[in-house]
């Protein structure tokens, strides 16, 4: 059961990351195309800047949610050198639950706000739901991954980056 959860969350994170990487590649291509069209083809693109901005919003939430599962987000943590296994356990769950609450706020309010607009973007004429929903969608992905992490035993949780207890001891 634990293995299945782990595999599912790892796979989901990988998919998010691959999508985000493709979007980064797209953003770079559009950026270069913008210069090319302006100078070589003398026909400046109007939609490019907006599309790049929205692309990066999606990158932030897709790759950001993958980072949640891998424990890659930067953390400070000043209590890292505590030895007691019980305190470590409590901290572990306190951190995950705090993250879960915020992700749930994003998921709930993000999707409500995302579906609410009916506007289109000024230059590219994209329905604004598409960029807005990145927030809510990212929130949902984070909630899923955090629930997976809560279900896994501590030993199976990927260790947070940024700082290890021994760095501070």
């Amino acid at each position: 059961m634990h293995r299945a959860i782990f595999g599912f969350a790892t796979g989901l994170s990988r998919v998010c990351e691959v999508l985000a990487a493709l979007l980064v590649g797209a953003a770079i291509t559009i950026n270069l195309a913008q210069v090319l069209w302006r100078y070589i083809l003398n026909d400046p693109l109007e939609w490019s800047e907006e599309v790049m901005r929205y692309t990066m919003v999606w990158v932030a939430f897709l790759a950001g949610s993958a980072g949640v599962f891998r424990g890659e987000h930067m953390a400070a943590g000043m209590l890292g050198n505590i030895e007691s296994a019980l305190v470590k356990r409590i901290l572990h769950y306190a951190i995950l639950v705090s993250m879960l609450i915020f992700s749930a706020v994003l998921a709930w309010w993000g999707t409500r706000y995302g579906f609410d607009t009916g506007q289109v973007s000024p230059a590219a004429q994209i329905p604004m739901e598409i960029p807005y929903l990145a927030v809510g969608f990212g929130g949902i992905l984070m909630v899923i991954k955090l629930i997976c992490l809560l279900l896994l035993p501590i030993e199976m949780v990927p260790q947070p980056g940024g700082m290890r207890p021994e760095d501070i001891a």
Partner: protein
């Protein structure tokens, strides 16, 4: 307001990732002030939906490509060649490499990781202590965000409307001042005990090749600054061009970059950008809550403390931000505090570029001071020492870099002379 502060402190202390600690503390603030929760997603979205900020991932990508295409190694050989005849040459080479590498990378962490991988392994072979080698690397990494391009300057520009390219130009002189301050510390330490002589040997014919490679690599920062300050392309476009140039160099000139490397670079760029963007997005929410909670009045009181004296004001800011910077990353610190301070900056007639340099240097210095500093962690992990062992060797550099900040507070010309010249 107080509940927000307490929640933030507690969340950070127990080890909640910075983006989530900032976000959840803002949620607490929203509940306490009875504001609308929908502001969380809306402010997060507007926080990262910015044209200026868009430049950041491109410079991150360019740095990542450079690191994988053998450019780091070439720059380091090039620096070692320059300093090979001086006692302590390899320590100086680290500083020289940091100057050049900072012209490509936009973050201090990027510098610390790239230089640390090599210098922390190579310097002990010549007889340096490991902790000393790590200290030289971490002190040098400070130049990453000061010498353009710079991700933190992009963030600064996004929240203040100060032009990115002027900020980039403003960073050049303070960047070299940092380099000089580090070199002076190494020199003074060299007087006490004899620093090891470099064991660096040029391979036959390597010298000429290194010079050509070095010039090819260093063309990039020059193109970025000249191109963007003359308005040929925007700073964001310059970032895209930097990526393309780095890929072309890696694939066709140095013949080291594979498709697999490029793909891994894209993944790494997505990860690094996302973690920066999320912190910024959450900071935008907190900034909004703090403004609603009336922090502007407190900041005005803080500004009034200095009785209209520009230098005292800047020094005061430097002290306050040093404290803030020890536990908060520069990115969120800039988003949270700079917009609040800008009115005071205008009122006192402080040059925004000088203010920017003082803020950015001070906050970056926080990356190399305990208890929290991401550059320290990176370097400690490579050197396998803890942060207090590292700081025992870092503090002379820390003092020297603090003196640079004080000089920047005193003399506006260090920050605004070059942007002025380039503009005219």
């Amino acid at each position: 307001m107080i509940s927000l502060g307490v929640a933030f402190g507690v969340l950070l202390a127990i080890g909640v990732p910075v983006a989530f600690a900032i976000g959840l503390a803002s949620v607490v603030g929203i509940l306490a002030l009875d504001l609308r929760m929908v502001a969380v997603p809306t402010r997060m979205f507007t926080g990262i939906d910015s044209f200026v900020l868009l430049a950041a991932p491109f410079y991150i990508m360019a740095g990542e490509v450079m690191a994988r295409s053998g450019i780091t190694r070439r720059l380091i050989r090039f620096s070692m060649m320059i300093t090979r005849n001086v006692p302590g040459g390899t320590a100086y080479a680290c500083v020289v490499s940091a100057i050049m590498f900072s012209g490509i990378s936009g973050t201090a962490v990027g510098d610390a990781a790239a230089l640390g991988q090599i210098f922390i392994k190579e310097m002990p072979k010549e007889g340096y202590r490991v902790d000393y080698s790590a200290a030289v690397v971490v002190a040098s990494s400070m130049m990453g965000p000061i010498i353009p391009p710079s991700v933190i300057m992009i963030i600064f520009s996004a929240v203040t409307q100060v032009s990115v390219i002027e900020l980039f130009a403003a960073g050049v002189i303070p960047g070299f001042m940092l380099a000089a301050s580090i070199a002076i510390v190494i020199f003074i330490q060299g007087l006490k005990g004899v620093l090891p002589r470099p064991t660096f040997k040029l391979e036959p014919g390597e010298g000429k090749r290194l010079i050509v490679d070095g010039l090819l690599i260093l063309t990039l920062p020059v193109v970025i600054i000249r191109g963007a300050s003359s308005g040929i392309f925007t700073t964001t476009e310059a970032g895209g061009i930097a990526c393309l140039y780095a890929v072309l160099l890696g694939v066709f000139v140095f013949k080291q970059l594979t498709w697999r490397d490029i793909w891994e670079t894209l993944i790494a760029t997505a990860q690094i950008s996302a973690s920066i963007y999320l912190v910024l997005a959450a900071s935008e929410v907190m900034s909004w809550v703090m403004t609603r909670g009336g922090i502007t009045d407190h900041v005005r009181e803080f500004g009034a403390l200095f009785g209209g004296n520009k230098v005292l004001f800047l020094l005061g800011i430097a002290v306050a931000l040093t404290l803030i910077g020890t536990f908060l990353e520069p990115g969120p610190a800039v988003i949270l505090f700079v917009p609040l301070l800008m009115p005071a900056v205008k009122l006192l007639g402080v040059d925004p570029l000088q203010f920017a340099m003082v803020v950015i240097l001070t906050l970056t210095l926080g990356l190399i001071t305990p208890p929290v500093g991401v550059c320290m962690f990176v370097v400690c992990r490579i050197a396998n020492i803890n942060i207090w062992q590292l700081f025992a060797k870092t503090w002379p550099f820390f003092v020297a870099e603090t003196i640079v900040i004080i000089l920047l507070c005193l003399v506006p010309g260090f920050s605004n002379w070059l942007p002025y010249v380039l503009k005219n």
